[in-house]
Symmetry: C2
Subunit: 242 residues, 2 copies
């Protein structure tokens, strides 16, 4: 039986101000739980899980507190429409900005939709991108919708926020995803290149577009005016890594 305080503490992590104040976040579902328990075991504080999940789970790290809960209790703390066996509370972490990067770095300019943001992190992980740098206007990494959309990749891709554009301002090989560039196959991809993806509605900020040494566009054959930001990122990463 969960105490009122525990219930309230977990529910409060749905709000950004409480995530900021506590440095904690929530992740849900067996897939993401097993990824986080495997990748960042030292960060996990509490696991709330049904008897069914507990019966099939690997042994938990020693510092983790396990609460076995009923499906009804899980529904009360879950932020999902369909609660899925397990919810964990983890400490947040920070990754340093990339210094001398070897591989392609992904730069996100004001990607605001949490689902898009999380899907981009998952997609970058598929293609082996080691580091994502985000403008300050991007969604919050530990927003529950971001965490869910990453499907566990949140703990595998390093991600950092670029205060006042200091990091991006110092980069030289910038490639801008835009609507007026060359097809991916026509580009030169230098070591340490940064692929910049712009906001869902407005694209890249003009000052970033102006600084790009190359612009890349996914060739269009039909009628849609644009592609979803996560889909476009996936297509570019696939073509750059093939």
């Amino acid at each position: 039986m969960l105490s009122k305080k525990v219930l309230k503490d977990i529910q409060s992590l749905g709000l950004k101000k409480h995530r900021l104040a506590t440095g904690l976040f929530v992740a849900e579902g067996p897939k993401i739980a097993s990824e986080l328990l495997g990748l960042v075991p030292g960060k996990i504080r509490q696991v709330f899980a049904t008897a069914e999940w507990c019966a099939s789970a690997n042994p938990l790290p020693s510092k983790v507190t396990l609460f076995e809960v009923t499906p009804e209790e899980l529904a009360r703390i879950s932020q999902l429409q369909t609660p899925n066996g397990v919810l964990l509370v983890s400490e947040q972490w920070q990754d340093p900005l990339p210094e001398q990067q070897d591989g392609l770095v992904l730069y996100l300019d004001t990607i605001q939709d949490p689902g898009n943001f999380g899907t981009i992190i998952r997609t970058a992980d598929w293609f082996g991108v080691q580091h994502i740098v985000c403008s300050e206007g991007c969604a919050e990494r530990f927003n529950p919708k971001v965490v869910q959309a990453t499907m566990g990749s949140i703990a595998r891709v390093r991600l950092s926020y670029d205060k006042d554009d200091q990091w991006i301002g110092a980069q030289r090989s910038l490639i801008a995803a835009s609507l007026d560039g060359l097809p991916p196959g026509a580009l030169q991809l230098p070591a340490g290149a940064v692929l910049m993806i712009g906001n869902e509605g407005k694209g890249l900020r003009p000052e970033l577009l102006a600084r790009a040494s190359q612009r890349v566009t996914i060739p269009k054959k039909g009628g849609a005016e644009s592609l979803n930001a996560a889909v476009a990122t996936g297509i570019l990463l696939a073509q750059f890594s093939s």
Copy 2:
């Protein structure tokens, strides 16, 4: 000033049973409104818009009833977190199943997330796919979240539901997106090929997978276990059309 009846009628279109009963659906925002007014003018019944939108809009088709509303009224009928100037009520329509298709047809097996479903329609439109066929387990085409995610492409790509798998059962050149296939470049793409995309969690149904003459997999370089269904669709369409 909107009457209580009008308010209630529009709000009810958020529910599937009312969309089925009335044959109507709702679309919002200037981008989607202008696409639908241009592409299916005869289907639009009512437009609810702020003075600002009305001042900048093209003349409306003669059968459309225009209601100028305050931002507060729009917020009461809108299903968006941030209402965006205009909401229209349109009749639904049906597209026939493709018969002798020349180009690639996209087949969706139980794509349930409305955002994914709409994003796939938008992506197919970008790549000039003329027709999407959906299994009965897919999301509902006129669900407001689907409509919004298509960004207007809903009126440009023909889309039909395949009752009891009759259509897919009669197709011969099936290509399955799976996790154990060949890279896209190694495939033969015959005229009239059908690219099959599976459910977000479970992939394609085994009976569909068994009938595929080719399997295609997006090469993986990193750690993520899978790609989002809309991202994977975009990558495959980009590679097949390049």
